[in-house]
Symmetry: C2
Subunit: 481 residues, 2 copies
């Protein structure tokens, strides 16, 4: 592989440049003509398809159904929930013309669909028989992004899913919020091998329009946190302005309780930054569109047929076992070039089949995560491949879990807070009085925000790290993407 094709930046030295090269050279994404927008290329899309499959399965098994809501939302709808409107309006793309005609009311390209969805729900929900109403949308949303574009991380359009549900009681809505949070945790920790802290957002950081927001927060190698997903109890904040009322079993009309929740292609950015290395991506087997790539190694022409036949057999055998295997027979590239290319693309496991392997009824396995090489007899191949994939998955998670744990620093003074943040970043675990004022001052001083408040209150171990007044909560602060 020529220098031009391989990644030239070192991850440890320049994460930002390494990231851009990893994304574009592994052909996950490319820049689009309009600033802030990207093209999701086939390889990137196939990863997104795997993410969708994982989550969609859990959602469908628990009675959620997919639907599609219009892209354009009247401005008057956005305005119905005031906090929500105020939060989103600076980021909205506005449609003002159709053909050569000016529109009478400008239309927002959806920055999120709460308003248009809850408006429809007010027509669809009549009685307790219609509840719960559990709908999910796989779509794209647009929020104008003025800082530098970073694929999957800071883009003006992103692919995501947004769930919107209606329940009879606050308790039912609470349960939904927590069930979704658990589905997100499974997707992120078990499939993407990214350990996360789960918890609540502070009042300041919660979704604009929510009663409360729960979140999953991951830590990147540069000490900055990434919000991986959020699940909100919207209380009656949307059901009241949009008039979502139901006839209860008691014969009375009640305002319903709604939730919303989402994860986006941002998950891909965290996967890249966390697992990747100087050779490129490392995709966890559970998410990899290709889990095993087979490279035939031809030396002499007369052996080619036997090698090709063996390669085909292996791929077919693995596919029957439900393993995503692909043989790279392209004759315009050398084996070495192919090794580099597939390593850059992060395929978890490589199988090499050469003349000696045909002779000895074996093949060579090479793990992407630690470069370990194994010679495996044909009879053991399926089991060994399964074992390797499973080990790669757990190894990636275990390494990341250790990093996450090491990235949490417990501090009791504001000096220590600032020093730690500047020295190594990560999560700063500290006690907090609960006031938004302290939170804002800390953000202005240090750039760190409360990423999460633990689901179960942790024992207080000091006064508020900023103001010194009695603390009410343990909070995890960090700088973030």
């Amino acid at each position: 592989m020529s220098k031009e094709i391989g990644i030239t930046a070192k991850k440890a030295a320049d994460l930002s440049e390494w990231y851009t090269q990893a994304v574009t050279k592994a052909e996950l994404a490319d820049y689009a003509p309009v600033k802030g927008f990207i093209i999701l290329r086939p390889y990137g899309y196939s990863i997104w398809e795997r993410i969708k499959e994982h989550l969609d399965r859990n959602l469908k098994e628990t009675g959620h159904a997919n639907a599609y809501f219009p892209l354009l939302i009247p401005e008057s709808y956005l305005k119905k929930e005031a906090t929500h409107f105020k939060g989103f309006t600076p980021e909205v793309f506005w449609v003002t013309q159709s053909g050569e005609n000016a529109l009478s009311e400008r239309l927002a390209i959806r920055p999120t669909s709460e308003t248009i969805v809850n408006d429809a729900y007010s027509k669809w929900v009549r009685s307790w028989r219609d509840l719960p109403l559990l709908i999910n949308l796989w779509n794209s949303v647009l929020r104008s992004e003025i800082t530098a574009t970073r694929p999957f991380l800071r883009t003006s359009e992103f692919l995501w899913q947004e769930g919107h549900t209606v329940h009879a009681t606050k308790e039912d809505a609470d349960k939904e919020v927590m069930m979704i949070l658990e589905f997100y945790r499974q997707l992120i920790e078990e499939a993407l091998a990214i350990p996360v802290l789960l918890g609540y957002k502070s009042e300041k950081e919660k979704f604009r329009g929510a009663l409360y927001t729960t979140t999953l927060e991951a830590m990147m190698p540069d000490g900055k946190a990434i919000q991986m997903g959020t699940s909100h109890n919207l209380g009656q904040n949307f059901s009241k302005p949009f008039e979502i009322k139901y006839l209860g079993k008691d014969g009375e009309m009640h305002y319903a309780w709604t939730t919303s929740w989402g994860v986006s292609w941002r998950l891909i950015s965290a996967m890249i930054m966390l697992h990747g290395d100087d050779k490129g991506l490392v995709i966890p087997p559970q998410i990899a569109p290709i889990q095993v790539v087979l490279i035939p190694i031809y030396f002499k022409t007369e052996q080619s047929d036997a090698i090709t036949a063996k390669a085909r057999t292996i791929v077919e055998t693995l596919k029957k076992e439900g393993i995503e295997a692909h043989a790279d027979f392209r004759d315009q590239y050398t084996p070495g070039w192919k090794f580099n290319e597939w390593e850059m693309k992060g395929i978890p496991l490589r199988i090499e089949v050469g003349p000696r392997d045909v002779q000895n009824q074996q093949s060579v396995l090479v793990r992407r995560d630690n470069s370990q090489k194994l010679i495996v007899k044909d009879n053991d191949l399926v089991n060994e491949v399964k074992k390797c994939l499973s080990e790669i998955q757990s190894n990636l998670f275990a390494k990341a879990k250790t990093s996450l744990e090491e990235a949490v620093t417990t501090v009791t003074s504001y000096e220590e807070f600032k020093k730690t943040l500047d020295a190594r970043g990560g999560f700063i675990r500290s006690c907090w009085c609960g006031s938004t004022e302290c939170e804002e001052t800390i953000q202005n001083d240090t750039g760190a925000t409360i990423r999460t408040l633990p689901l179960k209150d942790e024992e207080l171990f000091s006064k508020c790290v900023h103001c010194g007044k009695p603390a009410t909560k343990v909070a995890y602060f960090a700088r973030s993407y």
Copy 2:
């Protein structure tokens, strides 16, 4: 089911009103706040998901990959292919503001993605090694629709797929166009049970920017045709302005050949109109998200447990056989109400299980397409269900095939042409001189356009039906949606 819930219009008497009621009451779709837009509700979306699965399988097996391209396209890009721009610009929704800022160049919400896709291809295609490039997009496009909204048929936003491919030669592009046309035929005829005429579009009717367009045309009960899908060879019309060039094996640079092709949720509208009846939808088993619905019929409380157990066993057994079965245990509705609701939703097969069925180790099957009732022993159930579903599928297609054949009238005079069109509509098969002038006059006189020119030229049987000059082609004219 109360009058308000059931469909009150008769299909034969008022297709348009019947259609609107069928779509909204079966909860396929609902109207959105912005004129021209609809909401695809969960039931409609699950049908769309089935359509996607069918086509996606064929596309992936032949090396096509999915991707995602940005929603917003700079005006300057649209302008690069002049015919294309002229064709689409009256329908474009324009974004002119982001937040409170005016944009320097207005951005089009994609009416179709040829321009932005081909621009990216010019960067991705370097040599013959990169060809063919086979990409498909599942997204939504917006084209401002000023006539009355008709769900799935005339909407300003619609879900579709658009394929965009690059090839080394015209022959390769021709093959791609025809392969896709065949995939579309399979989807439409074999899954949706809708027979179609295949052929070319005339110069006047072809895609704006294409070298030639192939099409699939279905006939609706009111005598109007529906274009079901199109597959275009774009020639070098896009590769030249967008500079898609590749280094050939001959060491020279060549302009590539591109194609594009699409089907949309319009397929759903044809399925509804063609197969539906006064009770509501009739969904072909190959597309039905629920193929079999089981209704337990409880008379006395003491038998309830046995009925419920039997119902559960049946559904599990059918699911294991790959049949989409669902038991409706809701206790707030009577069996009669449920019969009507599921009939309205078009579920192909109903199974009833009552006390006598438990006793006699049997159940009752009721076909949606012809209301036929069968009493089936438990041992035969799986086979009988499979047989019924297969028969329903072929019966729906056979009926529609007969209608299509009957809808074609061969005419040799313009008088006959106009009389037939007014009396019964359908396809008017006639000889045509090949001039756009004749085609336009016919359209102005009668509202009929050339829907298709057969893939293989049919034998000429008269002079041009309009001008009387020597004919060059047999053409199928019709009024259309």
